[in-house]
């Protein structure tokens, strides 16, 4: 069933990482990404792996979930590996067959790249696993608020994001219902040639769009009825407040970043 698709993959358990301020968590993720991409040696990756493992343990998210987030990018991983193996030719030749030539440099780079991408995905998916989509948009709004100075519509953007997130499950449920209704009228949704299948989508997409527009209109009316006037002077139900654990987290992140910079410099020398 469509309902089983998890969008916005929030995994609700209670952990330190879950309780942290979402603004800080976004910053941590950014620092982590910088750390990974600034690093040029295998040691920085080891450092990154330690960091991810630590966060993973603190978050109480089962390792199975991390595997779930890697699975969809497996093709990209394979693609990167092949490209790197093929096109980087430095160091000793390890294996050769007609135009395919695998060199030590190529092998090293591709392993390095794969590890880096896996760490990137696992680390950043921890953010979405431990933060509910609504908190995430709140945090993005807060972090982007300086942009208001240059007349960037921060609140409007955030509102659009949270509305979109709010309606994903609703629309999924609606799609499910419409699909069942059309199946009951004998619509063949999962058989036939490609052209037929695309045609079979029409009886689902049209009612879905109609209802999406209807919902949008209803929501707009409801918001107007409650005198919604944008972000100006609006207060929040959930106030974001930084606490001790957030500053400790920030400190740990900075230490890791500093360590990786030191490793980088040492590696060059």
């Amino acid at each position: 069933m469509l309902k089983d698709i998890t969008l916005g993959q929030y995994f609700p358990v209670d952990s330190v990482l879950h309780r942290m301020d979402p603004r800080f968590k976004i910053i941590f993720t950014m620092l982590f990404i910088i750390m990974l991409f600034a690093g040029n040696s295998i040691w920085t990756l080891v450092l990154g792996a330690v960091f991810v493992l630590m966060a993973q343990l603190l978050s109480k998210i089962p390792l199975k979930m991390s595997w779930k987030s890697i699975k969809p990018i497996l093709p990209i991983l394979v693609f990167t590996a092949v490209l790197n193996l093929e096109f980087i030719s430095s160091g000793d030749v390890l294996w050769e067959w007609s135009f395919i030539k695998i060199t030590e440099g190529g092998l090293q780079t591709s392993v390095f790249m794969i590890c880096r991408i896996i760490l990137l995905i696992v680390g950043s998916s921890l953010l979405t696993y431990t933060t509910s989509p609504i908190l995430l948009t709140d945090a993005i709004e807060a972090l982007m608020s300086p942009l208001r100075k240059i007349k960037f519509p921060v609140h409007e953007m955030a509102m659009m994001m949270s509305i979109a997130l709010r309606f994903i499950p609703t629309l999924l449920e609606e799609t499910d219902k419409i699909m069942s209704a059309q199946k009951a009228r004998g619509a063949a949704l999962d058989s036939g040639k490609l052209t037929q299948r695309v045609k079979a989508l029409i009886p689902i997409l049209i009612p879905l769009f109609v209802s999406a527009f209807r919902r949008a209109e209803e929501l707009a009316t409801a918001m107007e009825c409650r005198c919604y006037r944008g972000g100006e002077g609006r207060t929040r139900l959930r106030q974001l407040r930084a606490e001790k654990r957030d500053y400790i987290g920030l400190f740990v992140c900075l230490v890791f970043l500093a360590a990786s910079i030191v490793l980088n410099v040492l590696h060059k020398v």
Binding site: D4, E174, K177, I178, S180, A181, Q182, K183, A184, R185, G186, A187, A188, I202, P203, I206, P207, V210, S211
Partner: protein
């Protein structure tokens, strides 16, 4: 003869997760041909889930559904055929309309059945007439219709497939009282004319009392009973315990009986009650 039969039908939502919920629990049922059956039950009692099993939209976690004595899940290739034989109209079916004209929308089902153009046209017109839809309406866009007309168009889309069993999930939800009555009368007339079996899910005891011969009562995922409408309403105390009511007029009659009026039991429609009271008054039994 039984057209629909279930044996130990059980359905569990999200099995194996923390959200696991058994919506239908070991239901054994036997629904006869040519009957108008009312389906009642509290919200969340499993009515809708049960209905979606009858045309194979949901696959039972365990148990069987027999249509005309044959297990509908025996041959998955024939599932479409099952869906043509058991028509299901969902709640608020007007949200499924999609074609350019009402005619084309009603014709969607029959066309999927692979019928010829002549036959499709005949069926669409016949169904539109049965539901009292103006021929002029058939040329309009379904999105330009009023709420009640949209509802009729959507129901017609399933009726036009001429299913042997027609299941309607709250066909009158959101209609005004006059519209409700007309709709139910048209459904009953359709049932009589086509000699099909109709299952009518409803929250209105008055409606099922007036229009159905049998009642299927669901309570907490289990089948509470399946019996003649009169027999079910006789168990008013149990129904109340389940959070269901008996028709208002039946309550009135019960209270009158308690005050010593010699009114018979089994009065659950306004007409019956009126006749019984007139009869009583003519006999001069009134002492008020």
């Amino acid at each position: 003869m039984a057209i629909l039969k279930t044996e130990g039908l059980t359905y569990t939502y999200s099995a194996g997760t923390p959200f696991e919920k058994t919506a239908v629990d070991h239901v054994d049922l036997c629904i006869e041909e040519h009957t108008m059956v009312g389906v009642i039950g509290h919200t969340g009692s499993g009515k809708s889930t049960l209905m979606q099993h009858f045309n194979g939209l949901l696959k039972p976690t365990s148990g069987k559904i027999l249509l005309d004595g044959k297990d509908i899940w025996a041959d998955k290739q024939k599932m479409r055929e099952v869906r043509f034989r058991v028509g299901l109209v969902f709640q608020y079916p007007e949200y499924q309309l999609f074609e350019e004209t009402v005619f084309k929308d009603i014709a969607f089902g029959p066309r999927n059945m692979g019928l010829g153009e002549e036959e499709i046209k005949r069926r669409v017109l016949e169904t539109a007439d049965a539901l009292g839809m103006d021929r002029e309406l058939l040329k309009r866009s379904p999105f330009a219709l009023s709420g009640g007309q949209k509802r009729r168009a959507a129901i017609a889309g399933v009726m036009a497939m001429r299913p042997e069993v027609l299941i309607l999930d709250e066909p009158c939800a959101g209609l005004d009282p006059k519209g409700r009555n007309l709709m139910l009368q048209q459904i009953r007339d359709y049932q009589k004319k086509t000699q099909s079996t109709v299952l009518l899910v409803s929250h209105s005891m008055e409606d099922v009392a007036e229009f159905t011969q049998k009642l299927l009562v669901m309570s907490k995922a289990k089948l509470f009973c399946y019996d003649d409408t009169a027999a079910v309403f006789r168990r008013s105390a149990e129904l109340r315990e389940m959070g269901l009511r008996v028709p208002q007029i039946a309550s009135v009659m019960e209270k009158l009986r308690n005050r010593g009026f010699a009114l018979p039991e089994d009065l659950y429609t306004v007409e019956q009650a009126r006749d019984a009271m007139l009869h009583l008054l003519q006999k001069g039994g009134s002492t008020c």
